[in-house]
């Protein structure tokens, strides 16, 4: 479970408010979509949830652990996929995955099985992992990052635009994995710009604009509340009004 309690964050001595008193809960067994225009505060909020930046005020609690008080316990539970897959490109795929697995303490036999599984899901030949990531395409780096993030089977998935660069089959498989993970009683929070993905996959969505959470609830409730039920129009109307 993810609990965000009254999170606020501003930059440039308060001139730029990225998050304004945001509160929400992502329960176990849920896939929650995080949607918003560019610069709305999605990535800042996600960074606060993952411990990359500290909120000016408020609290983050992950499965009962307070990020401020027990950051390492929180981080062990989280699997975070960044919106930037260009990390450690001088390493081979195996070296990067092993590095992340070492950091999270994944036993050798377990990680070998998981690498095999994920490689198959994403259509990657394992021989590719022996080469340095400088030679990978964006999509391959994204897939490798996903594998490295999920190799320790985290309870909580926090994914920042995970579908970018994935081919349709891999994107489909990732969505299926998200559903399976949530159905086991775990939590998935992901941000996306693609409303159709949010519509198909999410149990609930949160819409953020200019640092404020302007909607949190189910898709059906959102669509039923508005005439026509077109998600795109609803979203554009809501973010224009905010």
């Amino acid at each position: 479970m993810i609990e965000a309690l009254n999170l606020s964050k501003s930059f440039n001595s308060g001139a730029a408010v990225a998050a304004d008193n945001i509160s929400f809960t992502c329960a176990d067994g849920e896939i929650v979509g995080f949607i918003g225009p560019n610069g709305a505060g999605k990535t800042t909020t996600i960074k606060m949830l993952t411990g990359i930046i500290r909120p000016d005020s408020g609290k983050v609690v992950i499965n009962g652990f307070d990020m401020a008080e027990k950051p390492l316990d929180c981080k062990r539970i989280i699997g975070y996929i960044s919106d930037n897959p260009d990390m450690f490109v001088k390493l081979t795929g195996y070296e990067f995955i092993n590095f992340m697995a070492d950091v999270y303490g994944v036993p050798e036999n377990v990680r070998a099985e998981r690498i095999d599984y994920f490689a198959e899901q994403f259509g990657m030949e394992k021989s590719v992992f022996s080469q340095r990531m400088t030679g990978y395409s964006h999509g391959m780096r994204q897939k490798t990052m996903i594998i490295a993030t999920l190799v320790h089977d985290p309870k909580v998935w926090i994914l920042d635009e995970p579908m970018v660069g994935l081919d349709p089959q891999s994107a489909f498989n990732l969505k299926r994995m998200m559903r399976e993970h949530a159905d086991k009683g775990n939590t998935v929070l992901f941000s996306t710009h693609v409303l159709e993905i949010a519509e198909k996959v999410c149990d609930r969505i949160m819409i953020i604009d200019t640092g404020k959470l302007i909607y949190t609830g189910t898709m059906d409730a959102l669509k039923n509340g508005e005439e026509g039920g077109d998600l795109e129009k609803i979203f554009l109307k809501m973010t224009a009004e905010a």
């Binding site: 001595s13 993952t50 000016d56 990390m87 450690f88 590095f99 070492d102 690498i115 021989s127």
Partner: protein
């Protein structure tokens, strides 16, 4: 509280900048100017005051070429933004010239302070009129134009008419090979120098017969032209210089129009991933700390800019020491060396040099002062992985110390044994080396944690434009000056060395404790 933290950080940065300006940049500039003054005064007695300027400008031009090859190729062909610029309706010469001048200004920022010092030193020793002063400064500013234009033109021709330079890695390897060749050629020439003969050449006005000078005249004719103008005030050399500059830029523009688009669009930067390559690696289990250490070492060794500037830089100084000894025609046999360093003044000088080499090498290798900047846009991982900041900090220190000590301890250990130091002195020297190397490394890391440079397009710019390295070097030079200077006090050198080693060890402990508290806090605040 956040605002107070940011203000404090800005105050520290301003303070360090002022410190480096006052205690490093200005003194080094003044010293360079003073050296030029003394050199010119001496050469005036031979009737050839311009010889010193010619040599100094020649050396500056050599450095321009050595460091400029990689920079120019990178700027014209391998920067990430080029793929965004090519589709735009820009003329190729517009693109090339604008990027050329960007590199020119960047390179000049570093060397113009030296040029000012050189011109000032010469102008005070050999009075010049106002016109000469102004033109000398302008000419000094334009000094890199011709060598850089030549590099750019040759580069464009190579990229257009050859097939082997299609990747950044190839350019780097070629530039490193050229650097090694130049250094080797320079070393060989220096080894063949007889200083007394050079003095005769200068007095007789036949200095151009010296091989090194002959090569300089051919490759860098502008150095002789500017030097002649400064010495004689004759306007013809400077006009010729201006004409050559203009011609080189016109040629560059012409080459760009004819060849640039063809060469840049033929690049093949996206490496082909072999689908059926053998899977030679698999899972390997390590502790989190060891895994971080291995990752750190791999990135250092596999990133060419880090490999040369951070790793290999530690192993260059022995060659210079050997060359210096050879020039002085020193007897390097063991009996002679032992007898030489048995004398107190020589032993003192040796220890001062050991201290200076250790500290300056540790500052120059940027392993400490770039430790967090090297992460670049991947820095966030430091914050979201479940590894304590303290452990991550210590791993980076360990990785930095491995290379710093590898470049000093074996050589100095050999030296103290070869030179016949007694056991106690030898141990003291080695402890001093380790303590001083740690001090500089940890200081660099602390500075980098304050304001790391995380946004860079390529690894080289992470190092070159990082002021944390400048700050670290500044503080190191001052500390080194004080420590090395204190060795010359009228006290037995081993007593002074012992006291200094003790002080360094205490300083290391204090610095480490500060790092674990303030440094770690700085890391937590990055990005906020």
């Amino acid at each position: 509280m956040e605002e107070a933290g940011n203000k404090k950080r800005k105050a520290w940065i301003l303070g360090f900048t002022a410190f480096v300006l006052l205690f490093v940049v200005i003194p080094v500039t003044v010293m360079t100017g003073f050296f030029t003054f003394i050199l010119t005064k001496g050469l005036m007695q031979t009737g050839h005051p311009e010889f010193g300027i010619k040599l100094m400008y020649g050396l500056i031009s050599i450095f321009t070429v050595v460091f400029g090859i990689n920079v120019i190729f990178n700027e014209l062909y391998f920067e990430d933004d080029i793929s965004y610029l090519l589709p735009l309706p820009l003329k190729p010469e517009e693109l090339v010239l604008s990027r050329f001048f960007a590199v020119f200004i960047g390179e000049n920022m570093m060397q113009f302070a030296v040029v000012i010092a050189v011109v000032t030193g010469f102008g005070i020793a050999h009075p010049m009129n106002v016109f000469q002063w102004i033109i000398s400064l302008v000419a000094g500013f334009l000094l890199p134009v011709i060598p850089m234009a030549v590099i750019a033109i040759v580069g464009m021709l190579l990229m257009t008419f050859t097939r082997f330079i299609k990747k950044k890695e190839t350019v780097r390897r070629i530039s490193y090979a050229i650097i090694i060749l130049i250094l080797a050629a320079g070393a060989m020439m220096l080894l063949s120098i007889d200083i007394s003969e050079i003095v005769i050449f200068i007095i007789e006005g036949t200095a151009s017969n010296i091989l090194f000078v002959k090569i300089l005249d051919i490759i860098f004719p502008q150095t002789g032209l500017i030097a002649d103008f400064m010495a004689t005030g004759s306007v013809w050399p400077v006009l010729v210089f201006a004409a050559i500059c203009l011609l080189s830029l016109v040629l560059l523009s012409g080459c760009a129009r004819l060849f640039y688009m063809e060469s840049v669009t033929r690049l093949n930067e996206t490496t082909h991933v072999q689908k059926n390559a053998s899977s030679s690696q698999s899972v390997v289990f390590r502790s989190a700390g060891m895994s971080l250490f291995v990752k750190e070492m791999r990135v250092l060794v596999r990133t060419p800019a880090f490999l040369t500037n951070c790793v290999a830089a530690n192993f260059v100084w022995p060659a210079f020491v050997l060359i210096f000894a050879k020039i002085l025609r020193a007897d390097l046999g063991r009996p002679a060396v032992s007898a030489y360093f048995a004398e107190q003044p020589h032993k003192t000088a040796a220890m001062a040099v050991i201290l200076a080499i250790t500290m300056v090498t540790a500052a120059m290798n940027c392993l400490g002062s770039d430790s967090f900047s090297r992460e670049g846009k991947g820095f966030d991982y430091i914050k979201f992985i479940p590894v304590s900041y303290k452990l991550q900090w210590n791993v980076k220190t360990a990785a930095a110390m491995v290379w710093t000590l590898a470049g000093t301890v074996p050589f100095f250990a050999f030296f103290v044994i070869y030179a016949g130091f007694d056991v106690l002195s030898a141990i003291l020297v080695m402890v001093m080396v380790i303590a001083s190397g740690f001090f500089v490394t940890e200081l660099g890391m602390l500075l980098d944690s304050l304001n790391p440079k995380l946004f860079w397009l390529d690894a080289l710019s992470a190092l070159r434009e990082n002021y944390n390295t400048v700050f670290c070097m500044g503080i190191t030079i001052v500390a080194c000056g004080l420590l090395a200077g204190a060795l010359f006090l009228p006290v037995p050198v081993m007593v002074t060395c012992g006291i200094e080693t003790f002080i360094l060890c205490i300083a290391d402990v204090v610095l480490y404790l500060i790092s674990m508290r303030t440094g770690v806090r700085n890391l937590m605040q990055i990005g906020e």
